[in-house]
């Protein structure tokens, strides 16, 4: 009702009626389109799951029925046994446990510090980050390889954790920078009057306010680190230090026709990423639900 008074009554009378009719596509088309999305994006992963439940040694029959007649976890046992995926999963986990927190910290610190810089310097940080984003990965492989070799770090897990120093992607400090800048200035002012230095302001005032950003970036960082394939391919040669993606690749080259086994491995590699995604989504949903509740 309030909005009606801000515009002319004649305009609103004309506006209200056609809005609903014209703006929304007919529900049928929209419903069919949504069904099409489900049918296009759903099957690949369902097929992955169903193929991994078939007995190893046979190529999975491609035609329906979707569900295998003999559901078995034998392919999983073989993937874990022959492929050494268990050990590889532990390595991947170790990398993530170090790299993800460090990466998020580096991003948050850099983003916050940038809000404290003079305008020119802040623009410099943004520009450097954007430039770093544009550098193709292939431009970095050989010199990084030489660097790690000179430091005797090849064939350890350290090169796989190292990207945490650039926050995994130079995009993430920029995301934090934008988020911290959006925090109302009087909150920072209050913190300053209370005698908080940048460090305490960051931890006590800024971080709690951007928690959704932290959750989202931690999720992306985890998925990127967990799926990292190129780095271990180049810097790790000893099977004992393989991470999950490399171990999976070597499992698939072992017997390229034994689909159930390496597809079971693919499911195992995918599950943690999906779990982290689900946890983040659950957190976000709980959060938006509660904040909507308090505001209205």
């Amino acid at each position: 009702m309030e909005r009606h008074t801000t515009r002319g009554p004649a305009a609103t009378r004309r506006a209200v009626a056609p809005v609903r009719r014209r703006r929304r596509p007919p529900p049928d088309i929209r419903r069919h389109a949504i069904t099409a999305v489900l049918l296009a994006f759903g099957p690949p992963l369902l097929l992955l799951l169903s193929a991994s439940l078939r007995p190893p040694g046979l190529p999975p029959p491609a035609a329906p029925p979707l569900l295998p007649t003999h559901v078995t976890l034998a392919a999983y046992a073989e993937a874990l046994g022959i492929g050494g995926l268990g050990r590889a999963a532990l390595n991947s986990l170790a990398v993530c446990l170090v790299a993800v927190p460090v990466s998020v910290l580096v991003a948050a610190w850099a983003g916050f510090a940038t809000t404290r810089l003079p305008r020119r310097a802040a623009q410099g940080v943004v520009l450097l980050s954007l430039t770093a984003l544009m550098v193709p990965a292939t431009a970095l492989l050989v010199p990084r390889f030489a660097l790690y070799r000179a430091l005797h770090l090849t064939d350890t897990l350290v090169p796989l954790m190292a990207p945490a120093l650039i926050a995994t992607s130079p995009l993430y400090p920029l995301v934090y920078y934008v988020a911290f800048r959006a925090v109302p200035a009087d909150l920072y002012e209050t913190a300053r009057l209370a005698g908080f230095g940048p460090w305490r302001t960051w931890w006590r005032v800024a971080m709690p306010l951007v928690r959704p950003v932290t959750v989202a970036l931690a999720t992306f960082t985890f998925v990127l680190t967990w799926s990292n394939f190129l780095d271990p391919l180049l810097y790790v040669y000893d099977r004992d230090h393989f991470t999950l993606p490399v171990a999976l690749r070597s499992l698939s080259t072992l017997d390229p026709t034994d689909f159930p086994v390496f597809l079971a491995g693919a499911v195992l590699a995918t599950l943690p990423a999906l779990l982290v995604f689900a946890a983040a989504q659950w957190y976000m949903r709980g959060r938006t639900g509660s904040s909507e509740g308090t505001v209205t």
């Binding site: 014209r22 703006r23 999305v37 690949p44 992963l45 097929l47 510090a113 050989v142 990207p163 230095g197």
Partner: protein, 298 residues
């Protein structure tokens, strides 16, 4: 510590990381492009010889063409699909939440696992894709009597397969465009309805200009990424073939030249070409974005 010192200390790890892991290596690569280096004996200065060799190097031409074609097809397709998904799913409704989650799922799958999945899906004999295509036809033919595509054994279908794979992983673009669409003011759409604009006109005159800046930036990023995302599928799914080099993109070419043939100087020269191409693509899109903005945004 003074305030300024504390801020500097917070920035230090990131600055060190950028210098050590991005800018120094990138500079070193540019320098290496003028040398011959097998990673064992010290690099030997050869001047422009590498670049001159690239000029007439058949596999490099092939990789360059493959990468450009991939970018020219995959980037617009990915953006169009992500935008379509965002516009379709930005309003709540029946099964919208489910559709959003399902559209995000393929993006969460680790690249190698995703590649292995498609390796099976595209298998010309046992793969579900061709089994679906031959439903209703006999003798391994489609219902309309044609041979189904020999996905991973013929050059063109293999290239198409890599592009199809890449189109399903638009989760990030979708999420960002969804956010961009949700912040557009409802009043503009009400006004368009008052003017009696049809659905296509609303899209062209209202939605598209308003999301254009975001779309432009995403196009930039996706173009840069397109030189890299083709690496894992090309290695895992098609192994750069078939036949020789049909799906060898620049990233795979650089990897093989450097780490398999130990010609790091030559690989670095190819990388410099990628750098220049990236810079040119960024500049061109930046210019287009500027022109578009000056036309639509007063």
């Amino acid at each position: 510590m003074s305030d300024r010192r504390q801020a500097a200390a917070m920035l230090a790890p990131y600055a060190a990381g950028l210098a050590l892991l991005v800018f120094a290596p990138a500079a070193a690569t540019v320098a290496l492009a003028f040398t011959e280096w097998d990673a064992i004996s010290p690099p030997r200065w050869v001047g422009l010889a590498n670049l001159r060799e690239l000029w007439g190097h058949e596999p490099f031409h092939k990789a360059l063409t493959n990468s450009l074609v991939f970018a020219a097809v995959a980037v617009p397709a990915r953006l169009a699909l992500a935008l379509g998904l965002a516009l379709l799913l930005h309003r709540p409704g029946r099964r919208v939440g489910l559709a959003r989650t399902v559209a995000l799922l393929p993006t969460a799958v680790p690249e190698v696992a995703y590649g292995l999945l498609w390796l099976w899906l595209f298998n010309p004999l046992a793969g579900p894709v061709n089994r679906a295509l031959t439903v209703g036809g006999g003798n391994g033919l489609t219902a309309w009597g044609a041979l189904p595509p020999q996905w991973l054994t013929m050059p063109t279908p293999a290239r198409a397969a890599i592009i199809i794979m890449s189109v399903f992983t638009v989760g990030e673009l979708f999420v960002l465009l969804l956010a961009a669409r949700r912040v557009l003011p409802a009043e503009v759409y009400e006004l368009a309805a008052v003017e009696g604009a049809g659905r296509w006109q609303v899209f062209r005159r209202v939605t598209l200009p308003l999301v254009a800046p975001v779309l432009g930036l995403l196009a930039l990023r996706d173009t840069v990424l397109s030189f890299q995302v083709s690496f894992t599928p090309a290695l895992v799914v098609t192994d750069g073939g078939p036949p020789q080099g049909a799906t060898t993109y620049l990233s795979l070419f650089v990897y093989r030249t450097g780490f398999e043939y130990l010609r790091h100087g030559f690989a670095a020269a190819a990388t410099v070409v990628v750098l220049l191409l990236t810079a040119a693509a960024v500049a061109a899109q930046w210019w287009l974005l500027g022109r578009y903005r000056s036309r639509y945004v007063p």
